[in-house]
Symmetry: D2
Subunit: 281 residues, 4 copies
């Protein structure tokens, strides 16, 4: 029984790039982090140290900066498509080129209702992500949101679950529901109005979360995915990861006080972790 190389990848991660796009009356500031991931005919690099088919990750990094000048002009999905095609087309030994881009949000400052032309505040920790995979036969675009920190103070319960000898959780029809959601969805085409769809999908996710009468995290997760698939025909499937950022009622009764869903302990660990994909049949 001999030993051989199985699946393998390599590339440059965390290529942190900022760009100023100068419009006539304001500056657009964009900040992204790019990962390049290549698969292909790299067996001899592993087995005998033959680097003749290896495009160095340092060169990949340089390429991202150089191509950003002309080709990073609108959505991260479009730039990702350009990069994936560049690496795939210029490297015959590559069977699959994956580009992952995460965009940090910056918002122009507002003063007295006016938007400042070149001063920015952070738009928060929530990030827009995109993954483009180009193989010999196929190009797929997956967009998403990372670290979407959302919360509702009511319209959420958790009851009628299994009880066993280790059950101590009390049923509740009214609890805080908080999550740091990660969402990604696959488009059925590469020819999409990426910016418009992203904004529409994000709003649909938030509104469904806000208005849902939640009976569990699972229940709301599915509703959010279903709403996106219902409204956006260009979305093939959607996956959500919803860590439960528990806000636990503090026991005020031990001090002779009431706690009618007022005072909570916010905890990071341990946390419930619910994931699901919603698909079209």
């Amino acid at each position: 029984m001999s030993i051989k190389l199985g699946k393998n990848t390599y590339g440059k991660n965390a290529v942190n790039l900022s760009k100023i796009i100068r419009h006539p009356d304001y500056h657009e500031f964009r900040q992204i982090s790019v990962n390049v991931v290549l698969e292909g005919d790299f067996e001899t690099a592993h087995t005998i140290g033959d680097n003749s088919k290896i495009l160095p990750t340092d060169t990949q990094k340089n390429t991202v900066y150089a191509l950003a000048k002309e080709h990073f002009v609108s959505s991260i999905e479009s730039f990702g498509l350009y990069l994936a095609n560049y690496f795939k087309s210029n490297n015959p030994q590559v069977s699959s080129a994956t580009i992952e881009i995460t965009e940090h949000s910056w918002k122009r400052m507002q003063f007295n209702g006016a938007t400042h032309p070149h001063a920015y505040c952070s738009g928060g920790g929530e990030k827009h992500s995109a993954t483009i995979v180009q193989t010999n036969n196929d190009i797929t675009v997956t967009s998403g949101i990372i670290d979407m920190l959302i919360l509702k103070t009511t319209d959420s319960g958790f009851e009628n679950y299994i009880k066993d000898q280790y059950t101590t959780l009390k049923e509740t029809s009214d609890r805080v529901f908080a999550t740091q959601c990660e969402v990604s969805w696959k488009y059925n085409s590469t020819n999409i109005l990426f910016v418009e769809l992203f904004n529409g999908i994000r709003t649909t996710l938030l509104q469904t979360f806000a208005d849902h009468q939640s009976l569990s995290v699972q229940h709301t997760l599915f509703a959010m995915g279903e709403a996106v698939l219902n409204r956006f025909g260009a979305v093939k499937e959607i996956s959500l990861k919803m860590p439960n950022k528990h806000h636990i009622l503090f026991n005020l009764e031990q001090f002779g006080m009431d706690n009618k869903n007022e005072i909570f302990i916010a905890t990071d660990e341990p946390y419930g972790y619910i994931t699901g994909t919603v698909v079209r049949e």
Copy 2:
């Protein structure tokens, strides 16, 4: 020469507390992290393990949760004043009680111009801080902002500095100026409209940053502090810490391309770190 105890403190840190304040037509959600720091007559605890004057940090934590029910109703400064006074008054062995509170920002979701009554998005990583110190003779309130991530794409330069044999930096009259600012200011009273002043001071800081013709980080730091002292008589002094989040021009010339302040490498380390306090004479 004998050995003895010098300055010492103890307390509970990171008491993570959430509160829902139920208004007639919406829920207000607040999330804070509280540190309690006590100084006083604790020498025998150290030297002979006598705990008779030690209020356990676990009890401090319980106290914060219990008192939040009635007394955390508006600003973190007001709640901090209540807590500091509680610990100082109820513990004669305490000579100084310090309360540090950091508030996480949550914003009610907006849909079609309407604000949702009970669904929230994270307000980002920027946090409002407050430190209250109550001693036998004095009570001081310091408010501030942590992780104020701001950036401007122009109106910032750095020239005419010292050159020596290790200088490689090129002078520039136009660079990106980005910083993750930490600001704190001391009030000259405990009887302040804390919420209103906080908002006014924050806007003054942002607007000064945005509009300043910056010749260096130092230059803008001072201008920001000076503007606050000029406009807010209740502020005694203000301190700013401004790490320089460098956005370094990527060398496109090596590939035969121009880089007219367009493409930058965003770096975290190393970073310039500028701090300063602006005071009244």
Copy 3:
């Protein structure tokens, strides 16, 4: 085209548990973090909020603490096998129970050649991991190492790679090779001397890394995997992730000085990221 639930999982993550095992002449201190991940017949929880088949993640957490008393007595793999079987056997709606355990390393302090019976130092950031998956038909055990931070100061080069218009990297026959390696391997049985094999495999990985004449990260990655498969028949396949923690030569020549592989800039980002699986044919 209707919409339906695809793959989904849920469970409790980051159940942080410490245990003291009292031996006659010393205390054994163990600290682990446990994730429980369940798959199964949970569709109605998602679609209609029916929780009747949901074992709450809070109960999962309680179960881990309760079962640790009798059943966490030796390797994390053995405890994981017990937990996976417990959740699978007691919950007919579960088709697959996965237990992921990460163990933090603690080492008994040494003084003058003697080992202290109950005082510990951290064993560092490197952690031992184990993943057990029990389905209706199968039980698999994967062990591994997380955050194995290793480095060699020579016997590593990178030459003869592709050059193109974006190449600026210089070839070198002698560079620092540093990585924060993540390794995992699948056993072909559940009846293994887990502790002994773990130690043997770890030593093989380290020794191969140390002695290899490395022509690239890929080259060493494969050699490490191959060595483990060669020596340990119980290992079916092994996967390695090797981020390149670059130590970049600082340009001292610009100051009229030599830099013969002496002075380096240690960087975190961007980083080359090389992954590979080595298998038996």
Copy 4:
């Protein structure tokens, strides 16, 4: 009442530097992070943007790398003294130059009792720190340890403390005592065998922690500081910060089981935080 600049500093932080020192039979690998902090006559930089007295932080960084070649050859304290003197002597506008150095620990790999000449494992998260301050009149050296993660499973209790209406903590004569200790001590001279003293002081701290019959964190903190001052005349004073990494007994009684100090919940927050300085009278 006019407005003016108060205390201010600037410098480069996180200058991450690695060095290989080539000995005849092995390579010594050192990795440090350096902060430079300057104070002085910088008022006009703040008030009118005059940079003529500003040594750019970029130049400070270059200087650290350049001087490391000849002058970083033994302890970080010695290198820090050289750097502080360099910046102070070459910049008459500087009234105080502070150098902070943190060293990451790397240990040569061991195989079959032999030490490998050039392959290293991380020595863990514990770091050696040094701070040198050179003013017009004075040079002080402070050494220390950061993130010393230590734990004992017995010989620690906490009893006889204050009880009030918010007390829920149970007294215990036997608990886990874990802390991520930060220690720093001031030397009374700059002419010290820094490496030897560091090792001796570290061992004294660990041994005192291990052997102390602890009645509280305060009690052990003082004992550790006192032991160092007793044994090392070159130490003027010592400060310790001891966050209490709580390991809380899990309530197994609710499931009809005993928990005789066996099973604990390891928590990060909230945490008790005890600090103290031990001095000579």
